[in-house]
Chain length 105, copies 2
C-alpha cells in the first residue's frame, strides 16, 4: 500500500494573496466555516457543497495549497482540518474576521 | 461640463467575496496600504504602481467596485480614499488584519 501524503505549504510559506484568493469564494468560505465550527478533522463527504465531486475536490485543493486547511488520508477518506494556529501566527485576526463576516453575510 | 460620478456599492451592498477577491492582489494591496497610511484623498498619480496606466485604472476600478475605495473626480484628477468606516461596519476587523498582514509580508 502506498502512503499518499499531500503537499502543504509551511507556515512561513503562507502568502497573504493566496490566502485571500482562496477565501474569496462562497463554497470555500462554507468549508472554512464548517471546519471552524467543527473544530476537528472532517471528511469531505460530511460537508454538502452541492457541487460535483471534481469541483469539490478542486475547492479543497485550493484551500490546502493556500495553507488554509490540512488534508490527510485515512484509508480512502480525505480528512480536512483548519490550520488555525498557522494562520493566526502569520496573519493575526484575519481568519476570525473572515469567519465572522461570512457568518453575518 | 459634464459631471462624472462613478458608481459605488452602498455599505449594505458590500460582499465579502468581492472584498476578499479585490484584496487578493499585490498591487491592490499596495494601494490599500498607501491609502490607509495617508488617511486622506490621494490622486492615482501619487501612487507609483509601476504598471501601465490602463492596468492601474483596472486595479482602482476593482477596488472601487468591491467597495474598498471611493473615487471622486476633481477636475481631471481622480481622487481615491479608503472606505474604512464602511468596511469596518460590515466586516469588523477584516481591513485592519489585512493591512497588518500586508505590512508584515
Amino acid at each position: 500500500m502506498s502512503t499518499r501524503v499531500l503537499e502543504h505549504p509551511s507556515t512561513e510559506e503562507l502568502r497573504l494573496e493566496s490566502v485571500l484568493h482562496a477565501l474569496a469564494d462562497p463554497m470555500r468560505l462554507e468549508v472554512v466555516r464548517f471546519l471552524a465550527e467543527a473544530g476537528r478533522e472532517v471528511a469531505c463527504s460530511e460537508i454538502d457543497l452541492a457541487v460535483s465531486k471534481s469541483t469539490g475536490t478542486h475547492h479543497y485543493r485550493v484551500l490546502r495549497e493556500a495553507g488554509i486547511i490540512s488534508q490527510v488520508y485515512r484509508g480512502t477518506a480525505k480528512l480536512n482540518s483548519l490550520r488555525r494556529a498557522d494562520l493566526d501566527t502569520r496573519f493575526p485576526g484575519l481568519l476570525d474576521s473572515v469567519i465572522t463576516a461570512a457568518g453575518a453575510g
